[in-house]
Symmetry: D2
């Protein structure tokens, strides 16, 4: 039994941050930023080294973005594994956010150097690589993590808990979808991520299915608590041609206990952004979750009005989900993003003050002291007006 | 003219993080966590010192949560201001997230010590204090910031930009509301924040109006670009009694150019969580934004179908708002929260591995390597099934 | 005590339809069509006479639309009152859907002739006229009805019942709105209804307030079960000028028991169509109804997830509301409109068949027998495919 | 070429109503009421005869409900066909709303008697019957109609028109669903429709697929304008056992031009009422329609904000759809239902007045003249308050 409870996850158990390295994540990449947002917000980790790019100029530039000291900014991940493993204060883990086809070799190198690996999904390009990597992790005893972040929204976990504890009775059918539209037209040459995702030489046999189908499949199994036994797939290219690769798939699943499920995957569905949605029906109710509105869980007990559960609301959160909910209901999980924007602006303003430069054009100083005064005056005039019987007053 | 453009806000301009202190934020407080989320996610700041609580035991415990070294954990903010100002590596700024009635004295002390202050809203309890603090900031030349984070959502700024550039024509009427329900019943004795917010001795003349009305008033002025000239207010106590303080207000406003506006504030409206909503109508269109769905901006040009602008969508973002948008559309601003939960769990798991303990009960290892293998197998079987003409295959 | 129960309202109690006349409703008018839809759908009435227009050509043309025999199509409502009152089979009631300023004289004439009157709202132009008409009804003993149809949606009544029986506890605050946008620009010369609605000579002292404010005020009182004791109003012209008349009003209300309420009325709010919405908060919950989504009632018991009640769902309908719900949940109240369109098309097709003409261009024969065959074939092929193990079959 | 335009469909072209009979529709049945609502609201038809039930007592009782004279109320549909065909004023058409397995024989009898038939879907139980009936219609030259009412909502037709005229480019994929929950548990013994719908002896090889799958299939073909070439079906029983019949089906379709489509049908999906939804994606946009919100059409042009088209809005309606739209936008298609409820209440009140009885308990007289006066007083007091500068006034 652990000495910790689940609520202890809110604080680093060692009283310090773990030392983390990055492989990939140079300027132009997106996925590295998403990992970084979790790293920083969690306060469990400190990024101290990185092989951000194999191009020296991009690696150097990116290292200043990430505030990684030059001596720990590498252009060769193999060298990084070797050097960091040898340092007293070397990284304890790396996260790997390079294109999928490179995951196996990079991860293997770090695992063999005794450095834990956090690998973006899909874990590898082929099944052989996947088993190989799992084998290396087992042999070395070094932790290997694979990241499916969507299921770490509080209400996705809440859904799983409710399903597991009978809120919808026995599961009878499931439908999931992950729909995007970025691959409807030809690949955007400005995008670092679109070209390789549609290149058979790089992604192997599947494009959309590996890229987002794996998320939907994971979500479907996670939220239902059921494993798929068999599948049947039809692939289509509904957007611009992709060298024979699919951008769309209709997949039938037979889950445990003969529960039927259907999965619709597309990256060529105009108007769809990141439409990961899971719907599960049992014999006593239904439940519905949509990644684009992650704070909301719709629960329809059979014969009763549908209930809209909002993250954080008293009485609506299970034990396992509660630690994931950091904010009161209505203060959305998106709030840290707004605060981050504000702190970036204030940081910039203070830095400008310290070095004596002016602020960029177009920046509005919503934090200005005059706004602060105005708020206090507003409250005060409201009280004056009310006390005088609801009369008009100048502000 | 600045040497920077607005997109440079994404990176710390000094090539290092600014040193930040915290006043308030001890265990049990909420607002400090919100500031911290912005601090960490922005990557512009490093928290290195704090007067987290006046109670020594809570201060010490909280310092380990924030990973602040014991020698820079204070119980007396006045001492903190003195000591940090004297240190070579002292904090360059503090954020103040104590109850409102203490803002003036704390902020004044740090400003006088030459340390920049980031003060939560409302800036002070009384108008006199507000003017006093603004005066101190002016005299000392030390930056003073007041935080209204909601307007730092990308689509709130987008709304302001669209209104300013004529998307709805000339503004003709405005309605805003900020509705919550936590003050419907008596104050929750478990909550550190509810009691003082309803205590006339602590908050002064207004409760809900100062607490959330100032947010709505700021949003209304910010998004419309119009200043209020006059107001008329009616206060009510719709929830449990609060020593004569209001929990609800209906406020009429006369904006510049005689534009009428109405503001509804309540903390006793059951079913409402953080319902900050602003609606602006001009002679050529209307626009609507809701803090609980911050990614969406509804824009109705007169006589045309309503358009649903989603953050990050190509062609829908103005210049000033674009730097605030870090993720593709559909990958909601809430995603960092999910990644943070995942990184906390993986950090915890790695720490447990390092010290040889087990994981807390109830923690599901979604990151397990077997899940990674499963995803790759899933993609592969899909390709097999498709190539065989859409046949059922075991997984 | 009545010999009838409320469910008996579904059938005409006399075993026949009541004879009904129409005043107003000539081609070009809208309101007459709305009355007619209720008349026909209810099956309680038969329209047999009308003074549809004072212009003989329009009266004659309109009479064929309404299938009124020429001898009972009048151009003078006074003559109609006289003649119909004298007929053995004369109308037992008329509905009056002329512009508001004519309501008093027309209604008075029919009441005095002993014919019941169904008068569209607002009942009259002035308070004096209203009292005069009420007096005539009382003196003559002839029934006078005034129509506020929105409150006859099943879920509006359901809301009133739930509020009355304590679903939200004691009422503490209310907000209502009725927002449209047709009066944002100048009056459309094509519209028969826009010009007189904005002409002070015709509507008197108020335009939007009389036209739609009365609906919102009625809804607010009806759904809350509380009467307003006092009001305070600010008028504005937010759209094109209207000879001094308001198109927008912000109205504060003091309801019984000192419950505060606020009403926002506008016909110049771009993007708003018929946004009649009522929100009521008590000390134990809140309730919300929107005329544009009349099938849905949102109910938030304090501290519990919001419940979405859908018309007709088992267990969600009160006694008084249940007779108003004619269709299973999900088969929306709008379904009769679709059926009506279908029956009009089939009627037209059969008539064309009988007189040997062709169908109008653009009409798609969804009812064609080939579609019927196709549906049966579809079902059959599905069964074939399933029985063969889920194989592809031609249709 | 027709002498009529499509807008002429709003009026009966013969200047009279067509004489219509009913087969089925006795007390307890639902579908007959839906047909009747269209019959009445369209004003193209008059119901004059019926074989409402084979049980004499129910037939007689039901005839009074429908206001059918006793001499034209039959208990035997074969007799009705014979007698009505012989009458000078006999019915020109009948609608058949009996259980599906009886459709063939009843329809055949009336067709052979020279009476047009309006047959509810599915047209027949078997493919053989369908072809037989189509053959009889062809031989006799008597019109035979099959009813799919959902596609007669204005915005369903609008969707079809927009797709046909290129609003989403070339169609690339389609998904449709029709989900209900009434068959989750065992058949409700109170319901006249549930038992036979799940009885293999009555419905044949398919239950849900024939009952609602045919609707979804029709909608999918109608809105896309594409025909299905092949299908593959998997049947499941997700709710209570039904003698081997399916209540759920997952159906893959190959449409013309190799466009893939998927159809999900279920009557055992808790929380779903009448969820008929169609989503079509082309290479330039997507379009989405939901029967439960029939007034709204969502259209996402690729790379632009999603547009919410509302029925009746200027500039948003195509030619073929415009005649189907009878009400301004926001005045929902559901409004006739509310007006019908109101007219039923007023009809009841007038009838009670005529025969001197009291109203049923629980009936609220919203139409009372005092409400009419109150509305006029309200408007007047608003004007008084405004003119006095926005002061409080008693009502």
């Amino acid at each position: 039994m652990s000495e910790f409870t689940i609520m202890d996850l809110r604080r680093p158990p060692l009283g310090r941050r773990l030392r983390l390295g990055v492989v990939g994540g140079g300027r132009g990449g997106l996925v590295g930023q998403w990992h970084a947002s979790g790293v920083r917000l969690s306060n469990h980790w400190e990024i101290v080294a990185g092989a951000l790019s194999s191009r020296p100029d991009n690696a150097a530039l990116s290292a200043t973005d990430w505030i990684i000291p030059p001596e720990r900014s590498y252009t060769d991940w193999a060298e990084m594994a070797r050097v960091e493993a040898a340092r007293e204060d070397g990284v304890e883990a790396v996260f790997v956010c390079t294109p999928n086809f490179t995951h196996h070799d990079i991860s293997a190198a770090f695992l063999k150097a005794g450095i834990a690996v956090i690998c973006d999904k899909p874990m590898t390009r082929t099944v052989e690589e996947a088993h190989s990597l799992a084998g290396i992790a087992a042999e070395t005893g070094t932790p290997l993590f694979v990241t499916y972040p969507y299921m770490h929204h509080a209400m996705a976990r809440q859904a799983a808990e409710m399903v597991a504890t009978g809120a919808i009775g026995k599961i009878r059918q499931i439908r999931a979808e992950y729909l995007q539209d970025w691959a409807t037209g030809p690949a955007d040459p400005e995008s670092s991520g679109q070209a390789w995702r549609q290149d058979p030489a790089k992604v192997g046999r599947t494009a959309a299915v590996a890229d987002i189908g794996t998320h939907a499949f994971h979500a479907l199994e996670y939220m239902s608590g059921l494993r798929a036994d068999a599948l049947r797939a039809d692939f289509h290219t509904c957007g611009a041609p992709k060298g024979g690769l699919e951008d769309t798939a209709f997949i039938s699943l037979k889950m445990q206990d003969d529960v039927p499920a259907h999965l619709h995957i597309s990256q060529a569905a105009p108007g769809q952004h990141c439409g990961l949605r899971v719907q599960i029906w049992g014999d006593e109710g239904g439940i519905y979750w949509d990644q684009e509105h992650p704070e909301l869980l719709r629960h329809a007990p059979l014969g009763q009005p549908e209930r809209h559960l909002v993250r954080g609301q008293a009485g609506s959160m299970g034990n396992g989900a509660s630690w994931l909910s950091h904010l009161p209901p209505g203060h959305s999980e998106a709030l840290p993003d707004a605060w981050s924007n504000l702190y970036a602006e204030m940081g910039f303003a203070l830095a400008s003050h310290l070095i004596g430069t002016t602020l960029p054009e177009g920046l509005i100083q919503t934090w200005d002291v005059s706004e602060g005064v105005r708020g206090v005056v507003f409250s005060d005039r409201c009280a004056d007006s009310h006390e005088a019987g609801g009369i008009w007053l100048q502000i």
